[in-house]
């Protein structure tokens, strides 16, 4: 795992939308403080990445996905790997989604927001996860 203050954070992006995933990869890889090391199209693949030999420092996780949705994937990964940061990155979030994400100990950022909001949330989530684990 990398030190959030000195090395680029290693990020996995999870979204069932191929083109949005590509965009995230391009946007985040362009930032010196982040490095996208994996991507996935649903929650099951995300869990596989977390259980792999070289898990990322944090996930950017869409919530509405087939097979296993983001809520379920965050829950599984947070329980097994509490040191991994988690940011729910969603198109629309009502009160239910906000409550669920908060209960699962993840940050929430809207896709309509500025990408810098996502970067800040990723840093916060990693620091919070590491200090709690």
């Amino acid at each position: 795992m990398s030190d959030p203050l000195s090395e680029p954070l290693r990020i996995a992006v999870v979204d069932d939308d191929f083109d949005f995933r590509l965009l995230l990869r391009v946007q985040l890889d362009a930032l010196p403080e982040l490095s996208v090391v994996a991507d996935a199209g649903d929650g099951e693949e995300a869990v596989d990445i977390a259980r792999g030999e070289d898990p990322p420092d944090a996930f950017v996780m869409d919530l509405l996905m087939p097979k296993m949705n983001g809520f379920e994937a965050i829950d599984v990964i947070r329980k097994e790997y509490p040191e991994i940061g988690m940011v729910a990155y969603t198109a629309v979030a009502g009160a239910y989604a906000r409550d669920q994400v908060s209960r699962l100990g993840a940050e929430l950022v809207l896709k309509s927001g500025d990408p810098t909001d996502l970067v800040e949330a990723l840093k916060r989530s990693v620091e919070k996860a590491r200090s709690a684990s």
Binding site: Q27, F71, A91, S112
Partner: protein, 232 residues
């Protein structure tokens, strides 16, 4: 003069308001990700014009723009706006080839699809492509693979029977499946994305092409969607 009571008027207004909220919520959800993708891709290219030379980015821009266009067209056709109905003349089409092409265009692997039988239909190419897009999209989005498509001809009609195993459908899902912007319980509970226009679009296009569509629960869970189109 209407003899509708004030209470009844109030109830109907509340019902209309609930429908309006549901429709706007569904459309908002469905448009948000492609809009965010389009904006993000344009910003990437605007900041770094060299990025426009990357084929994967320009391909994504084209795909996302087409997707937004399709979402709009879906809403128009499902809402019975006749000006957006396909205009291509009917011609004889091999349904085996058409189904296989729709499956591959959806980015799915060959082993996920089983085609039984064969049939030819007399239908406009764009209408058929649009119908098959939604049949495949529903099967991929809500079901598990392999999906079986049984083809046949009888009584002057070509039959496309798409059997997609998946979660059990309840009575309300079956009853409301063709209602615009209705999303089934399994889709909502699993938090999958979608707008609830696929089957209404298929119904409108099938009718426009001289055919029909019906759905039923698949034994063991899932759905059978049957589209009938004129045979040559």
């Amino acid at each position: 003069m209407s003899d509708t009571s004030p209470d009844e008027v109030e109830r109907q207004l509340a019902e209309l308001d609930a429908i309006r909220r549901r429709v706007m919520n569904v459309i908002g959800h469905a448009l948000r990700t492609p809009m965010a993708t389009l904006r993000g891709l344009v910003e990437v290219v605007a900041k770094n014009p060299e990025a426009a030379k990357q084929e994967e980015l320009t391909d994504a821009l084209v795909r996302t723009t087409r997707r937004l266009e399709r979402l709009l067209d879906d809403v128009l056709v499902a809402s019975d706006v006749s000006t957006r109905l396909p205009t291509a003349s009917a011609r004889e089409v091999d349904l085996v080839q058409a189904v296989r092409t729709a499956w591959i265009e959806a980015g799915q692997d060959d082993e996920g699809l089983v085609i039984e039988g064969s049939a030819r239909a007399r239908v406009g190419n764009d209408a058929l492509r649009w119908i098959l897009f939604h049949l495949v999209d529903n099967a991929v989005r809500y079901g598990v693979q392999p999906v079986t498509v049984a083809l046949g001809e009888a009584d002057g009609m070509a039959r496309i029977e798409c059997r997609s195993p998946g979660p059990e459908l309840n009575e309300a899902d079956l009853r409301n499946a063709f209602e615009l912007f209705y999303r089934g319980e399994a889709a909502v509970m699993k938090n999958t994305s979608g707008m609830g226009v696929g089957l209404p679009v298929v119904a409108r296009l099938a009718e426009h092409s001289g055919g029909t569509v019906a759905i039923d629960a698949l034994e063991g869970g899932g759905v059978v969607t049957v589209v009938e189109l004129p045979a040559p």
